[in-house]
Symmetry: C2
Subunit: 486 residues, 2 copies
Amino acid sequence: MTVKTPITIAYGDGIGPEIMKATLNILNAAHAPIDPEVIEVGEKIYLQGYSSGIPDSAWESLKRTKILLKGPITTPQGGGYKSLNVTLRKTLSLFANVRPCVSLYPYIATKHPQMDLVIIRENEEGTYAGIEHRQTDEVYQCLKLVTRPGCERIVHYAFEYARKFNRKKVTCLTKDNIMKMTDGIFHQVFNEIATQYPDIQTEHFIIDIGTALVAAQPERFDVIVTSNLYGDIISDVAAQVAGSVGLAGSANVGNHMAMFEAIHGSAPDIADKKIANPSGILNAAIQMLIHINQPETATLIENAWLKTIEDGIHTADIYNSEHSKKKANTDEFASAVIDRLGQQPSHFKPVDYKQNVRAKIECYGEKKRVIANKQLVGVDIFIENLHLTAEELGKKLATLNTSLKLIVITSRGLKIWPNSMIDTPYAHHCSCRFQSSTDLNHLPSITHQDILNLLKEFDNAEFDVIKTENLYTFDEKLGFTLAQGQ
Amino acid sequence: MTVKTPITIAYGDGIGPEIMKATLNILNAAHAPIDPEVIEVGEKIYLQGYSSGIPDSAWESLKRTKILLKGPITTPQGGGYKSLNVTLRKTLSLFANVRPCVSLYPYIATKHPQMDLVIIRENEEGTYAGIEHRQTDEVYQCLKLVTRPGCERIVHYAFEYARKFNRKKVTCLTKDNIMKMTDGIFHQVFNEIATQYPDIQTEHFIIDIGTALVAAQPERFDVIVTSNLYGDIISDVAAQVAGSVGLAGSANVGNHMAMFEAIHGSAPDIADKKIANPSGILNAAIQMLIHINQPETATLIENAWLKTIEDGIHTADIYNSEHSKKKANTDEFASAVIDRLGQQPSHFKPVDYKQNVRAKIECYGEKKRVIANKQLVGVDIFIENLHLTAEELGKKLATLNTSLKLIVITSRGLKIWPNSMIDTPYAHHCSCRFQSSTDLNHLPSITHQDILNLLKEFDNAEFDVIKTENLYTFDEKLGFTLAQGQ
């Protein structure tokens, strides 16, 4: 007897229960060797007072099975409810979001019949960490944090995925012409890891041009790897131009766990009517079967699904007079897929997944690198300054008793002192940069105590300090950008 | 005799000189009452050692005329050269980037014949301020700064633009479901200012869905207002799906100055061949004429240009067998436009610009608001931590001598102490949150000295502090986000 793989199932909200039920019926009929255990997450749980939408008992199941097939969730409006998806991704360290996006032309309307790409998006970093501070009456800040291990993990994953799924090219998208450090490290890591995959073509685009190309010429892409925000945006663009928003599944994959879901929402307006299309969660389940190394069942189901689409058995959302032969409800669509188990599509190319194509990254974190020599060489002290002009501010700062040198005052990254070209710069929120020396090529180290002494001077002079950013060199290279205009 | 308006002209690099010359020929032939003075910016100036690409003498001209018509620039590769565009935008406070994007179907291939939208992008804020710090061997940070005045200015501009150019709807795009403060303030300001324009329809989309709609259904948009990065991305998407990358102009507008340019680059590969299409810089010049209140000349030229396109006089970049009648070089194209001055297009709707349609915002900065009561209530102290587990870290921090309460330790925004759900969280880069009390509804004020004392304790305990973020309440509302999982 086949050993069944335990998986955790969450039906979700809105149309979730009906499409999940239809999907499980198909998995059953295909004799998928799985052993589902059901957890409750989402709206009901939120309203019971769990602000994250998931009760403690559900975590137990996840830690046991390490696999979640999840229906769409309704997050209640207002009042401190946190996105369950973000919580699951971060808590389970599901660093990779994987979104295949393929044209089903002519059955599904699209202007891009040849489109067949996969977006691999970093899931844990960047501005989506949600670290925000209101610093003055007027100024709000969000931190964008990018780590080298985070970049290595996702880029490595993308190349492994490309190799195992027989993809030919990986495209990297960043904005490193503007964000030279945070996006620069992503691009640099991409270039480094690419050398380990000489069989895979590589390219890089700036995100604005890259997104435009995904919109206008998606057929030119194969695998795309990018960071969190950019990946979020291009995933929606790609799904929209493929016409596949209602049909696509996605995977969120970590080193130890993985979650699979439809990319669409819970559509409460059509809930309980049994007319929803189960394809999104079904395609997520197919990704899951590949992931738990049941490629034969995945192949069986995906081919039957493609045949159903070809045969014109369509739910209302994709029904069209030209290619549809029968308008099916949720259960009828699922039955049509079940009836076709074992059949092959004729218009679409049949799929044939292989054993062990899961893009598992086992080497992450083990790589030894030489750690750069980090030296503390200065500090940016941010202040709220409601009354002084940039010139007055420069003068007052020059009177502070410190061994550190005042280099530049900036506002929103732009130099406003000394020698500003600007007549009346915005000076309510300023960063005052102090360094151990004025010579960027020779910056001796300072101590934390030097910074504390300077902060004490700021306090005595009644400056309203709102934050600090230390300045470092790494192997004598600057670990900070210069001001615009500096 | 008509008084001529002084304007500053920069020919730029690559194809810049030839397309600018062609454009000036058209402006001359149309008797545009302008008095151009030429400055030199770009490649040559960079290579003379001006890292910003603009010499001091050029600034003089700009400050005098307050108007710049600029050809495309080549920024030399490598070595500290700064984007001239970013420098001009920030130094001249050109806060609004205005990009009309219109279909020229069927003469220019596009899948969206009805497309006619304008993107108004905030130009000075967000992550594009380029404030970046490398904080540890592994971790890089970029600050995203958003100010209420910055949001007010751009949103106000968008509504004024809509009203003056007879547009019916303004769409706002943000990601405020994730970035509740920085994107939240943009959306909130949009809602506030919208109430002053009851004649204009409004809507809001999350940026990922919004970008997908710009890609797939651009005809549904009219005026779009959004922040810097998002605007950069959707501008390229819109130009690409309209097919207008080679044809469109854009304006960068401030309260005192404005700059007009083509959206394409300097195309050095076809420079000096006199085959480049001058339409991009010509359309920028048309925007300039409207801005300097010469709408009659703008109307005259744009109608002649539309007629030229209709008549199938096409440069090589847009030449196609179906709709082109003559392949023109740069000068022939310009001559064809000149020949048609006074004519009206028949397929396209003729334009008819009115006096004073410049979307000038004179009230910015004058608005009085009640300033919220800001209270310092705690601090996030970020440290590099190479050796301690989250548990050990929590224990060690608890031994510090401070009146402040340790609330939570986070890593990349995720709670890792206390009671983390995660087995082995990333703990090399941690934020340690201290507050005046554990009760978020009752946070007494603290002083800067309290923070200095705590930092002194960190230093004594040999913690490697890398930065701080103060925690405030504003009118007793929290000025900071909670950790994911908190």
